[in-house]
């Protein structure tokens, strides 16, 4: 039998044991964003016609925290194991690169989805939100969490210190999420920045995710899903290559 289910279980248990920090805290942070931005900007901005700014904001904020938490899960687990040295307990058993990849990815996606569900559970009774296309919501939820879970594995493998991981998070993941149209529709941007936004893979996940709620988006959802899936696939291929070579894990 494969060791994959156990590694997945262990990775889920790891964040679940500290769920105040890994689930409740990000849900609360997202609610604070929502309160502050909704208060400051409601009435002044209309991102999508016929959709209140608070409503517009919720899917974007939810996706933002799903992305960040998926990334945080795999990256922090790997860097902690590397720094404390207990990564040997994963490297010594007969686990293949693919099994290690799928377990870390799976746990990261579970955390991202749990946080997303938490955000919706906490906001829906404040601001009712229609979900006309739940399958799009699910598809983009999975693609986004998968993409960032995979990026988290790469960051965790590459980083040798917490400082390097923080740099990855603050100088790559944060700007990409903030500039992905969480707080605005990219149609409100000047043409140059619109074009730049289209190079950001996070934009497609957020835009497509929002389509699931409002039936409207900046890009056709199928095209967004294709871009997001392609980014996810490319990152997965890279991660598997790194794991197979034992890059920074097996010396």
């Amino acid at each position: 039998m494969s060791g994959l289910p156990t590694l997945l279980y262990k990775e889920v248990l790891r964040f679940w044991k500290v769920s105040f920090q890994t689930v409740a805290a990000p849900v609360l942070t997202t609610l604070l964003y929502l309160l502050v931005f909704a208060h400051a900007l409601a009435g002044r901005v209309e991102a999508l016609p016929g959709v209140s700014y608070v409503q517009f904001l919720i899917p974007g904020l939810a996706m933002m925290s799903m992305l960040q938490n998926s990334f945080a899960n795999s990256s922090s687990s790997l860097i902690q194991s590397k720094i404390t040295g207990n990564i040997v307990f994963i490297l010594l058993p007969p686990l293949s690169a693919a099994e290690i990849f799928l377990a870390y990815l799976g746990a990261a996606m579970v955390r991202g989805l749990v946080v997303g569900i938490g955000v919706f559970a906490a906001t829906l009774w404040l601001v009712p939100l229609p979900v006309p296309n739940p399958l799009w919501v699910l598809a983009f939820g999975l693609a986004g969490c998968g993409m960032l879970g995979t990026m988290g594995i790469i960051a965790g493998i590459w980083s040798e210190k917490f400082d390097q991981l923080a740099a990855f998070q603050n100088f790559l993941v944060m700007p990409l999420t903030f500039l992905a149209g969480v707080f605005y529709s990219i149609h409100s941007l000047p043409p140059f920045w619109q074009a730049v936004s289209r190079l950001n893979p996070f934009f497609y996940v957020i835009d497509g995710f929002r389509y699931g709620f409002f039936g409207r988006s900046d890009m056709p959802p199928l095209q967004s899903l294709a871009f997001a899936t392609a980014a996810f696939a490319a990152l997965s291929w890279l991660t598997l290559r790194l794991l197979r070579r034992g890059y920074k894990l097996r010396h």
Binding site: M1, S2, G3, P5, T6, L7, Y9, K10, L13, R14, K17, V18, S81, T84, G85, N86, V88, F89, I90, L91, L92, P93, P94, L95, S96, G246, R250, H251
Partner: protein, 303 residues
């Protein structure tokens, strides 16, 4: 069948040549010692056996399974207790062992886990978080983790470094029991008396090479001998004995003796010289002496 097979393994870490062509065979059921000063390459060799280090050249196999090509079978066949104390602070002792067991695909392994907990004296701590355990207790858990999949080959990398006497004795009787029931043991240690008592065969490493490899008895016979250890009070050793004798760090004379007749002779010489003997004992050959001689020989005439 060989338990461990190492062929021409080389490994470089930047400018450092950690392994400079190591070949080694350990038959099944042996209690094998791997000795050498710090930085000799012992841990690198063990890590290569477990797939933690990927060699630049050469190959390694455990129970006939190549560690690279047939990594699953090779890793199932070996249990490695790493040198550094490491643990996952999120889990209890039992959870740690159940999880480790699961990594090997073993789900219904509770009975063996209970036995390991029992035999390693961890019953009282089974549900304690790993963080709350003392260093010695964490070491025991690491031994249990390495044995959770019942590997036929067990590798212990300096398991008694910084461990108290009680645990050390408990650990050795446990490991000896495993060896008697057929497991192959590969041990590295800096405690040479332990190696001398436990290991039937010994390899000594220096600068990434094996510089001596033989049965413990053979090494002792070749490089060490029985001596009469005499401590004198303020007087000199008679000239007839001083020729062959050496002086140890404690200031005692070590007079090589081949047999009982030789002892008689030495005692007679001491009496005749009228010296005052403070203490006197017959010291058996020691691995420490073998070790020092071999390491020194390597410095004088590097192979």
């Amino acid at each position: 069948m060989l338990a461990v097979e190492v062929r021409g393994v080389e490994k470089r870490f930047g400018p450092v040549r950690a392994l400079a062509g190591v070949s080694l065979e350990v038959p099944r059921g042996e209690f094998f010692g791997l000795l050498g000063p710090n930085g000799a390459g012992k841990t690198t060799l063990i890590s290569a056996l477990g797939g933690l280090v990927i060699p630049d050249a050469g190959c390694l196999a455990v129970m006939g399974h190549d560690v690279a090509r047939d990594f699953r079978a090779a890793r199932r066949a070996v249990g490695i207790v790493p040198q550094e104390i490491v643990f996952d602070p999120f889990f209890t002792v039992r959870e740690t062992l159940e999880i480790q067991s699961g990594y090997f695909g073993l789900r219904a392994n509770g009975a063996w886990i209970d036995e390991l907990i029992e035999r390693l004296g961890l019953v009282a701590k089974a549900h304690a978080n790993m963080r709350s355990l003392s260093g010695g207790m964490k070491r025991r858990v690491m031994v249990a983790q390495a044995l959770v999949h019942r590997p036929p080959v067990i590798v212990l990398d300096e398991p008694t470094a910084g461990v108290d006497v009680e645990l050390r004795q408990a650990l050795w009787s446990f490991v000896r029991g495993l060896n008697e029931s057929g497991s192959t043991i590969l041990l590295t240690t800096h405690y040479l008396e332990e190696a001398q008592q436990l290991c039937s065969r010994i390899a000594m490493m220096k600068d990434g090479r094996i510089v001596a490899l033989d049965s413990t008895a053979r090494l002792l016979a070749d490089f060490s001998q029985r001596v009469l250890r005499v401590k004198l009070e303020g007087s000199e050793l008679p000239a007839s004995l001083a020729e062959t004798a050496t002086r140890d760090a404690a200031g005692a004379w070590r007079i090589p003796i081949a047999d009982v007749a030789h002892v008689e002779e030495a005692l007679r010489a001491l009496r005749a010289a009228g010296v005052t003997v403070a203490s006197l004992e017959v010291a058996e050959p020691e691995l420490e002496e073998v070790f020092v001689k071999i390491m020194h020989r390597e410095e004088v005439e590097p192979a």
